[in-house]
């Protein structure tokens, strides 16, 4: 099963079957989660209605971390085993992870303003998440920074693997240092400190966001595969071969003409 998934042509067939299911379940769960978060969840005893921002902020923060972990593992697999599909998975995941991180930062800022009294502070949690956002951007930029796509992919993979150090720092920043950001409420030792009727919609949103990531990932991987195929076809078509022959012949002529012009 996994081996079959790793062969690009069969991946295309399988992902085409999976995509409609993943995207419809993602849409369904996010719709249910948003409805619960906006209309059913009771106002918080301290924060009132502002607490509803949590239902977008926290799942996107979880996804920002999880997608980075996925990106790093896929990059490691591509570095060690030179598995082409792993490389495509990593490149497909990066912009999605960057988008989740961006949503997390913006929603957090909108939440911080009324509750903390500030849009932004340079505490350990906020700063380390901003670094995560820059790691995503760095990965995306590095992939395209080389003329040879395989060199770009390798350099970006090294960055992704090195950046994994940031994940435990983000997770435990609120425990290791005094931060303005509150410590974990759900993923902690001991029971969650969120009341059950407020926790369940959060988990629905988290599963919905995970499915959304899976659907977007498959979609982007298919696009990248098609793009590579189109490029390969263009390079190997008779027309491309003829164009190359002409190009190879061209420079000497151009040089000669240039030289003779210069002489005069």
């Amino acid at each position: 099963m996994i081996r079959r998934f790793l062969i690009p042509s069969q991946f295309l067939g399988l992902s085409a079957k999976l995509l409609p299911w993943l995207s419809s379940f993602a849409a369904l769960l996010i719709a249910i989660g948003l409805y619960l978060a906006l209309f059913v969840v009771p106002p918080d005893y301290q924060q009132g209605d502002t607490v509803r921002i949590m239902y977008v902020h926290v799942p996107s923060a979880w996804m920002a971390l999880n997608v980075y972990l996925f990106l790093a593992v896929a990059s490691a697999v591509s570095l060690v085993w030179r598995q082409p599909l792993a490389d495509i998975a990593a490149q497909a995941a990066a912009p999605i992870g960057a988008a989740f991180t961006f949503v997390c930062l913006v929603s957090g800022s909108l939440w911080g303003r009324p509750m903390w009294g500030t849009w932004w502070v340079w505490d350990a949690r906020l700063t380390s998440v901003l670094v995560l956002f820059f790691l995503y951007l760095g990965y995306i930029a590095l992939v395209d920074a080389f003329d040879d796509p395989s060199r770009g992919a390798r350099a970006a993979s090294v960055l992704a693997v090195v950046g994994v150090i940031n994940l435990p720092i983000i997770k435990f920043s609120v425990d290791w240092w005094n931060t303005l950001h509150q410590p974990a409420s759900v993923l902690r030792l001991g029971a969650p400190t969120i009341y059950l009727s407020m926790l369940i919609p959060l988990l629905v949103m988290a599963v919905g966001f995970t499915l959304l990531f899976a659907a977007l990932l498959l979609l982007r991987m298919r696009t990248l595969l098609f793009e590579r195929r189109a490029r390969a076809l263009r390079l190997h078509s008779p027309a491309a071969a003829a164009a190359r022959r002409e190009l190879v012949g061209a420079p000497s002529e151009v040089l000669l003409r240039g030289a003779s012009k210069g002489d005069r």
């Binding site: 918080d44 924060q47 570095l79 060690v80 903390w116 009294g117 090195v162 005094n178 303005l180």
Partner: protein, 159 residues
């Protein structure tokens, strides 16, 4: 060793070295990465008069006194407390018994003049009726034991 195994070993060694280096850096940075100091920490290592610092703790119960847009209150960490004066808009979450971070300067008379007040959230979320039930339960306990009220809203304050 095959080339794949070589690459894997190289990757793992690289990650181990990087992890070790990061752990050393973080443990060396340790205390300087804190966002705020507790009143006890400030008492032990008083800041220079001109130095801007942040202090964090709980707003002491019944210490808030408002006068127009000015407000004074005491920040406590359970051991030491410090008087804070501030003029301006307070965040929504600012209230007695809740966590707060004040940024400003220590005055010569030992009190603290804040230029910014940030509220700290305690990571507890519950509907209002649950909070009311809990408060009722606490009152019952209090009258039974006649001790100080239990503090549900403690911050993770570490020296």
């Amino acid at each position: 060793m095959s080339r794949k195994a070589q690459r894997l070993v190289f990757l793992l060694l690289g990650m181990a070295a990087l992890g070790g280096a990061t752990a050393l850096v973080l443990s060396a940075l340790g205390g300087s990465l804190v966002f705020f100091y507790t009143p006890s920490q400030l008492e032990r290592h008083p800041a220079a008069a001109a130095e801007r610092v942040r202090i964090g703790g709980l707003v002491e119960e019944k210490s808030v006194k408002r006068d127009g847009t000015s407000v004074t209150f005491r920040i406590t960490d359970g051991k030491t407390d410090i008087k804070v004066s501030y003029r301006g808009v307070l965040p929504d979450l600012f209230r007695e018994g809740q966590g707060v971070v004040a940024e400003g300067r220590l005055l010569p008379n030992g009190s603290f003049h804040a230029t910014q007040i940030l509220a700290k959230h305690n990571a507890t979320y519950m509907p209002r009726w649950v909070a009311k039930e809990l408060a009722k339960h606490d009152k019952n306990l209090e009258s039974a034991a006649a001790g100080p009220p239990p503090n549900h809203f403690h911050l993770a304050l570490r020296p």
